[in-house]
């Protein structure tokens, strides 16, 4: 099994944030309204957190195969906002001494963590 997940990246522009809002029906103004967001505690538009989670799923799928996703427990925290024009990369690494728990992350272009967590692969279901 792969011990380091193949990274997956995305450049986040304002249009992609608007598209993601449309996909999820999540029009929270902190994501889609520049004026509102600038006056909020976030100090500007931030991307939906779950938008970047997709990069972790892609890294898992591209490294372990699509069938591995049928038995994953993913537990993540959003630790830093993703801003317009950030480039974010999802990846992960098998925990030392573990055969099934990956530390996973999404980092921005400055190598700052934006998401941290773990992905645990359960044993295959008996057939």
């Amino acid at each position: 099994m792969e011990t380091t997940l193949k990274p997956s990246s995305k450049h986040v522009d304002f249009q992609s944030i608007l598209n993601y809002a449309d996909v999820t029906n999540d029009y929270n103004p902190v994501h889609v309204d520049k004026e509102f967001a600038s006056k909020s505690p976030m100090g500007g538009v931030i991307a939906h957190g779950t938008m970047s989670v997709a990069l972790i799923w892609q890294a898992l799928k591209n490294s372990l195969g699509v069938q591995a996703l049928d038995r994953v427990h993913l537990d993540i925290r959003f630790v830093r906002p993703v801003r317009i024009d950030d480039t974010v990369t999802g990846g992960g690494k098998l925990q030392e001494g573990s055969s099934n728990i990956f530390d996973v992350w999404v980092k921005n272009q400055n190598d700052q963590d934006v998401i941290l967590g773990t992905a645990t692969l359960r044993a295959c279901h008996p057939t």
């Binding site: 999820t24 029906n25 929270n28 997709a54 699509v66 996703l69 994953v72 427990h73 993913l74």
Partner: protein
């Protein structure tokens, strides 16, 4: 614009089930997803990133309208199997708990997603949200 009152922190009741949201993973909704992630194009396979879409859609349907400006603080996804394209899912939304920490109002919602046809649980999730004041 909805005439419903805002669904604020005070409205969350731990243990309360708010309802079920139906979501069909059809080609149209997958195509919409691919406007954001065009590389998620494995034939017949629902992109895993869409799991968040299913959870958020259900929570925003039942715990809404929200005060603007809330933030998603954390999330778990416990996948029993990935949903299939063409499958219809039912997601139940329940308030797990809520807590005020350092003057911030946190709520955790438990979502349970089942196959509409078989009742099989395909996904459970816990969405942790910082509710806007």
């Amino acid at each position: 614009m909805s005439d419903k009152p805002l669904f604020t922190y005070d409205h969350y009741e731990p243990g309360k089930v708010y309802g079920v949201k139906e979501f069909t993973v059809d080609e149209a909704v997958v195509a919409k997803w691919r406007t954001v992630y065009p590389g998620d194009n494995d034939p017949g396979v629902m992109p895993a990133g869409m799991l968040a879409m299913i959870v958020v859609d259900a929570v925003l349907t039942h715990n809404a309208p929200r005060p603007p400006g809330g933030v998603h603080g954390g999330q778990t996804f416990d996948v029993n199997r990935m949903p299939r394209i063409g499958e219809t899912l039912l997601t139940e939304v329940k308030c797990l708990d809520k807590e005020i920490k350092k003057n911030r109002k946190w709520v955790r919602a438990l979502t349970t997603t089942r196959s509409k046809d078989t009742g099989e649980v395909v996904l459970t999730g816990i969405m942790t949200t910082l509710v806007a004041q």
